[in-house]
């Protein structure tokens, strides 16, 4: 069996004079979860719509499992589960009927349907609503049904456009769990997101896009290494205000601390060389100063740091 793949070749999409995607070349292959990142208007959703034939390229092409989507969308999307821009289900259908329609159009057999539809509804925690009409549902509930519809045939490739949109914190955590489960089942998942911790949590690789152009496509490990080479920073929170004298003499003088920024009276940002050992050592030293340390955490994740630096460079 070939590895699943998604590919954009010289992909360009213009809306009038505005170019949303500009000569994008990207090939994602194998079973993994890829986070598709970028600021608002970067071209993430446009790219995903092009990959799924919802819109058409001005130039270039998209291939799913090697099949050009413009030539044969049916064959190209056969093994895909797609969730783009919070679609709406026909309001008079129940979740079960909506998934039944998807299963019918995908030709799932009767036994498969009877097994998979309840499973998919259970995965998105909508079993108890399976016989209620979708028209009355909240945005978050509808999004759960959309996720279930993308999962019902156990797809080889999953294309998710900000799947946590409209979900409450519990729902967001559940989406992460679903993606993790799918990763364990050896699937290719391409997920656009604004939520960097979510991407860090579940993705193996990240592709960053800005102004329609791909800035980088790397493994998360490579991103982390790149960030760590540039140094780290931690935010320290104290139970009581820290005096300037303590900041300058006692904290600023600790081994490894290259710079101290005051965030407010009780919070400081400390810059130090890269590495967890350095952070552990600094934590021990801060506790030893007896200034009432109550919080100690990395000020930005590696991904966030790289994301911001790359976007700023692009701007």
């Amino acid at each position: 069996m070939n590895a699943p793949s998604l590919e954009a070749r010289d992909l360009t999409k213009s809306f009038g004079k505005f170019t949303a995607v500009d000569g994008l070349n990207l090939r994602i292959e194998g079973t993994k979860c890829v986070g598709f990142l970028g600021p608002n208007g970067a071209g993430k959703t446009t790219t995903l719509k092009l990959l799924t034939d919802l819109i058409f390229p001005t130039r270039g092409e998209c291939l799913v499992n090697g099949i050009p989507v413009r030539d044969d969308r049916k064959a190209a999307l056969a093994r895909c589960g797609v969730l783009i821009e919070s679609p709406e289900v026909y309001p008079s259908l129940t979740p079960y009927q909506a998934l039944e329609m998807v299963a019918d159009l995908r030709n799932l057999s009767g036994p498969e349907r009877r097994r998979r539809i309840p499973e998919a509804l259970e995965e998105v925690k909508m079993s108890e609503w399976s016989d209620k009409k979708v028209g009355k549902f909240s945005k978050g509930m509808k999004q759960r049904i959309n996720i279930a519809a993308a999962l019902v045939h156990d797809p080889e490739i999953l294309i998710l456009d900000e799947p946590a949109t409209g979900l409450d914190p519990r729902g967001m955590a559940e989406v992460r769990d679903i993606v993790r489960t799918l990763k364990q089942r050896d699937r290719l998942i391409l997920m656009s997101s604004h939520i960097l911790p979510e991407v860090t949590d579940v993705c193996d690789e990240v592709a960053l896009i800005n102004k329609g152009r791909l800035l980088f496509y790397e493994s998360l490990d490579a991103v982390t290494s790149r960030f760590n080479a540039a140094g780290a920073s931690v935010d320290a929170t104290f139970a009581r205000p820290v005096s300037d004298a303590d900041v300058d003499r006692r904290i600023g003088g600790l081994t490894g601390v290259s710079r101290v920024e005051r965030l407010d009276a009780r919070r400081l940002r400390l810059h130090l060389p890269p590495g967890l050992e350095q952070e552990a050592s600094l934590l021990k030293s801060l506790v030893g100063l007896d200034l009432g340390l109550v919080g100690f955490q990395e000020s930005k994740s590696a991904l966030e740091e790289v994301y911001l630096s790359q976007i700023e460079r692009g701007d």
Partner: protein
């Protein structure tokens, strides 16, 4: 050159990957769900209410006034009431079920749900068309039942003319054509309200006015207007068909104007022509429409 995966590619585990059904089967399956959606929708209730209202008005007027001419024979009765009423029912069905059938997919975002699936756009278009056709047929049949009920009351069960079946079949062809046209207009818009408004204005008033303008001012036969074909629905009840071209003259013999009646063949030809052209046109538009 594409930026390739930074880590080695591994094959996917086997999932459920059944062979997809043919596009014909997919459109039939989609039609089933769309039809169910229509059945439970408010627009279906609205359509049935219009049919019921029209049937009630006909029943009440005939029952109250008992016009001798109308009740002279079953052919006259059905030729007047059925042939006069069913084009109205068909126009309303076209507006209600076809007006926003395609535009609604964009505005209500249900298209994003459907088009993420491995289905050809033609299958979606055909499925929606079939569902609208089935829902409209129910409305036409309900209207037919109301009139047949009246007919049985006045003439007895044996008096239902065979011509009624022929007329019903022609009405179905007119419905095919009119729905095709409403789908074409619906494919031109991404907003339901605009689509319904344009279709309603066009089919309830527009084509009628255009037909008068073309006949009276341009003095040509309006064979390219769909509503021109609708009188053919009543032809099976007529003992003699109206003349194709009627010249109206004054008492002094001066020509006042010319009016046209479609021939059988012409009327049915217009209907099938509209159906084919609008189906192709609508499909081409839908194929090019983007879910941007």
């Amino acid at each position: 050159m594409a930026t390739a995966s930074p880590t080695p590619a591994a094959p996917a585990a086997d999932g459920i990957a059944p062979r997809l059904p043919s596009s014909v089967i997919q459109s039939l399956r989609l039609a089933r769900y769309q039809f169910r959606d229509y059945l439970y929708s408010r627009r279906f209730v609205l359509m049935l209410s219009i049919v019921a209202a029209l049937g009630a008005i006909f029943t009440a007027l005939v029952g109250y006034f008992r016009p001798a001419g109308l009740l002279a024979a079953p052919d006259v009765f059905y030729g007047s009431l059925w042939a006069g009423g069913v084009p109205i029912v068909i126009v309303f069905a076209g507006v209600i079920f076809g007006g926003d059938a395609i535009a609604g997919e964009f505005q209500n975002r249900t298209g994003y749900f459907l088009m993420g699936l491995p289905v050809r756009r033609a299958a979606v278009y055909a499925g929606k068309y079939l569902a609208a056709l089935a829902a409209s047929l129910i409305a036409v049949l309900v209207f037919a039942l109301i009139l047949v009920g009246n007919g049985v009351f006045y003439f007895g069960a044996d008096a239902l003319p065979l011509a009624f079946v022929a007329s019903l079949l022609i009405a179905c062809v007119y419905l095919l054509a009119l729905l095709g046209a409403t789908f074409l207009f619906s494919s031109m818009f991404k907003t339901s309200t605009y689509a319904v408004l344009v279709v309603a204005v066009l089919f309830i008033f527009g084509f009628g006015i255009l037909q008068s303008v073309v006949t009276d001012l341009a003095k040509i036969e309006p064979w390219f207007i769909i509503s021109y074909a609708s009188p053919v629905i009543g032809y099976p009840f007529a003992s003699t068909l109206p003349a194709h071209v009627v010249t109206h003259t004054s008492a002094t013999g001066a020509v006042l104007g010319t009016s046209y009646n479609p021939t059988y063949l012409e009327g049915i030809g217009i209907m099938f022509g509209y159906f084919l052209l609008t189906a192709i046109g609508g499909l081409v538009l839908f194929e090019r429409e983007e879910f941007a």
